[in-house]
Symmetry: C2
Subunit: 574 residues, 2 copies
């Protein structure tokens, strides 16, 4: 391995302006987001800031994306809260240690997956499951933040109770908090929806306008801090504020996790790692494609793993690549991960000397920031596309979403994975089996129901469109037996296997039985178009020996074989 | 539906002698087995007898096999004991009611599966899992019976503790019981192994000799009853005997199961149903094939369901088709299920008037009967075949077996099923992808590594040997991207889909991304040999529209298309 990453070893000065601009803009987004997501995770605000320094540098050194912006994100923060709340009091010292432990575990797992090249594990999360999971999480997060918007306190066990309690408590809402919260929400909503258009009308370029509109949360933060400080709304009107944020960079601590924590945290850490990895890779990939760059999934694992280790080391909590910040980073002209390093340096300066500025920041404003950020994650289009293309995928999506809302993030994602596996097996267990014939004048064989094809009266040629394995072996066997029983002229049964990628022991036994039973009826069983890897294993078996000379390279060869036999027997009978 | 089953409506007198002989011989096997398996299930002996009357008649009316012998079997008895022992004291009234409830639930489930044509559910149990399960159960049963052989009492929690306790207690074995138990075991072992051969040497036909050797357990029962009664070994030497077996046919009771029982018993009932069904069907099928008969899985579900309902109604416990008795039934000449009805009538006569004869029957003799019966079920050959053909299947078998031994029958079978599903997904997630070319002079395309084939320098033709779905979509995508990156001459990428039986939403998105990224590089993406059902769904999608005119019926057509384009551009460049 090189000591310096490729982008740094060959850094070109022309890339610096883009990286500087992007680094600065992302920092302006990152400050309110890191405070807000720490609050969402149940952590003191400074933990969000800590998670926004070293992890960015670690990713820059090991990751493969030029534009991914790493740091605290909404979904991982929700998953952190959900994992830790049963174990400790949110905001307590114990809770903070557990959060760093979670980042540590997640970092270890990601690094291990990267070194073992296990990036494929993330493939077990299908897009519909991910989409349902993200949408469900976004709804959960939004509902969880509503109480801060109105200055209320709830003690609900699930999302429906929460909504119910909020409605009941609404008359007791704190007026000043509500004004600040709803005001910010409306301001951010309009900024997101219309600001870019307005700025373009007054002459700004589309790109500039779109970037400026991304700074709205920082504007809301500054304005609200001034407002609260000016009239001392915390003391005078009971507005909940962030309060004291310790200044100074975090001390580096090597965690020695205790075994009880590991037992309680390994599953949440695994799920946070996989979900975070999948999300990061998909953002990084879609941005890389726009510039004809390539990202390497196993390098991403190393980058994210190192980022989480760095987060744990500096007292942070689980981080991953964020969707909105990465898009802004890309749009603002980031050319290399140096943009991330610049963000990290700026964040370090903020932490070292400017945390006092956040004292009067109202929690309601942070909540409004979170709500506006996560509602953009609710994804109807994937559901619509899945519903049109594949109902079973749409079902997986909806069940995952409902699972997240009713049972929480961990159970939701596990249910989604189990369901998508079940759908897979269910489909493979009902294979499409077609009776085929030869397309006239060609060597191709197609379904007799879909194409006009030639057949031979004493040859039953079937194509099974699935690997043969335990869940479909006896179905295929009895289907063929039925076809033979329905057609007394049959003297040859030909099974075309272009789609048979595997034959397991159970299916081998079924085929062996089939061959024996056909043979007892005087019918010859033949195979064609058997794949190389399948053939290699078949040769050694009883069935392979019984079928010697009856396994053909192509259906055409088998067809010719039967035609010739028919001519022979005709000649003989004459 | 007909009122009378086919076999009864058209019964031919010539079939009667075979059915009578078989019915009689099976009854002689059934008497000791039903007493022994009831003991194995933790039930009073008469429950085994009750389960051997009405269930046989019910199966005869609804089942489709001509030769399956239904009644108490070893594995279902073990599963009954394992399900009920946490809920009630073996042998207690409550335990007996729960056993009938289990039969009732199993009957309902089997009938429902039959009516809903859900027989395919049994396909989720692969042969290796079934084999591991049966072997594991046989070992469990053997170990559980050893204590009776020596007249000992144990309180072990698992099979290893049991063996350990037995070894420790062996010096305290009851001498008379041990003599009877080991004597019977040795007698039955020699009868099974050598008796048939000896009888053939003295002039009997092979079939007759083999049938007579099956009567050995009944001989052991009679001899031991006489021995114990003659010297009053129960009182004089402490030999545990069956004791009072109530005479008289069971009263019919309609069960009204209580909800708590249902909650505790549904899973065991489901597993007993599925395992029993799979075993019955495989025995019935292998016997039917020998006579060119056919069995219908959904009719089997109805037959076994009715048999279990009948068992519940008459105070029995779960029943299914037994392996050994079915083979004997077949060999003894059973032509129709009338043989089963004859067994039922004979069993009813025994219950009504002859139960007094069993009073002095030693439990050790029953245990020896069980051990000899189940050790025949331990199956090494499936393991050997699986090990040679498919290591993953061999692993499923071994893990299921160990699961049964360590965690019990239910956990064992569930672990086996989960593992075989995991193996399936794992395999599908690493698809075989081959670069292919045209076999000279044909229209066939084969792997460039396995065959001498023609290729075009600007065409990359790949065949992926798996359905495309979430677990392999991004692997296939990045594999193709890598092949393209490695080969800068490529202007056309052709994906051959003869083995692609499904494309799910996740894979559709991956292919769409791939097409867009190739298109951005000026490379044309093409498909060939797309299956009808896949094509139907693809047409409606964004990708389908983007590929219009680039989806070819055969790889050959796509090859010609590129060749013509190459000629055109050559002509143009001239």
């Amino acid at each position: 391995m090189r000591l310096l990453p490729e982008w740094l070893a060959h850094y070109q000065k022309t890339k610096l302006p883009g990286d500087l601009t992007a680094g600065l803009i992302v920092t302006v987004m990152l400050i309110p987001q890191s405070l807000a997501y720490a609050m969402l995770a149940g952590l003191p605000p400074e933990i969000g800031l800590y998670a926004s320094v070293l992890p960015l540098v670690a990713y820059a050194l090991l990751g493969s994306s030029m534009t991914l912006a790493v740091g605290p994100v909404a979904v991982a923060s929700l998953m952190t809260a959900s994992a830790l709340q049963p174990l400790a009091q949110p905001g307590s010292e114990q809770y903070v240690v557990l959060a760093a432990t979670l980042a540590f575990l997640s970092g270890i797992m990601l690094l291990a997956f990267g070194l073992l090249r296990l990036g494929f594990l993330a493939n077990f999360l299908s897009h519909p499951v991910i989409s349902g999971f993200i949408s469900g999480s976004a709804i959960l997060i939004t509902v969880s933040q509503l109480k801060h918007l109105f200055g209320l306190t709830t003690n609900a066990g699930n999302v429906f109770q929460e909504v119910y309690q909020l409605l009941a408590l609404l008359p007791q809402a704190n007026p000043a908090t509500t004004a600040l919260g709803l005001g910010t929400l409306i301001f951010l909503f309009f900024a997101r929806t219309y600001l870019s258009g307005v700025l373009q009308k007054i002459g700004l370029k589309q790109k500039t306008a779109s970037l400026i509109s991304r700074l709205a949360p920082m504007v809301a933060v500054i304005v609200s801090i001034i407002t609260v400080a000016q009239w001392d709304l915390a003391a005078e009107a009971g507005v909940a504020i962030v309060g004291e944020v310790p200044a100074g960079l975090p001390s580096l601590n090597v965690l020695v996790p205790n075994m009880n924590h590991l037992a309680a945290l390994w599953l949440p850490a695994l799920l946070i790692s996989l979900v975070g990895f999948v999300e990061s890779v998909s953002v990084a990939q879609s941005l890389a494609l726009k510039r004809q760059e390539r990202i390497q999934p196993n390098r991403e694992l190393l980058g994210l793993g190192a980022a989480n280790m760095a987060s744990a080391l500096s007292g942070g909590y689980p981080v991953t690549g964020g969707f909105a910040r990465s898009v802004v980073n890309f749009a603002a002209g980031a050319n290399t991960p140096l943009a991330g390093v610049i963000s990290a340096v700026l964040m370090a300066i903020v932490i070292a000397s400017l945390t006092g500025l956040f004292h009067h920041l109202p929690q309601a404003v942070l909540s409004a920031t979170i709500i506006i950020a996560v509602t953009a994650l609710v994804d109807f289009s994937t559901f619509k596309a899945a519903w049109q293309y594949d109902r079973a995928d749409a079902l997986s999506l909806v069940v995952t979403l409902i699972g997240v809302l009713l049972l929480g993030v961990e159970a939701g994602v596990l249910i989604g994975v189990a369901l998508s596996l079940a759908v897979l097996v269910w489909r493979s267990s009902r294979p499409h089996i077609a009776i085929v014939g030869r397309v006239p004048g060609t060597e191709h064989f197609r379904n007799v129901r879909r194409h006009k094809v030639d057949t031979l009266p004493n040859l039953l040629a079937l194509r099974v469109d699935e690997s043969l394995f335990f869940a479909n072996a006896s179905l295929v066997q009895s289907h063929i037996e039925r076809c033979v029983a329905a057609n007394p002229k049959v003297e040859y049964v030909l099974l075309l296997c272009p789609a048979v990628n595997q034959i397991d022991s159970t299916a081998l036994e079924a085929l062996t039985q089939l061959q024996e039973s056909l043979s007892a009826k005087g019918i010859q069983f033949m195979l064609a178009e058997v794949k190389g890897p399948v053939m290699d294993r078949l040769h050694e078996t009883h069935l392979g020996r019984a079928l010697e000379g009856l396994i053909f390279l192509s259906a055409h060869d088998a067809f010719k074989f039967v035609e010739e036999r028919n001519l022979d027997s005709l000649a003989f009978s004459r």
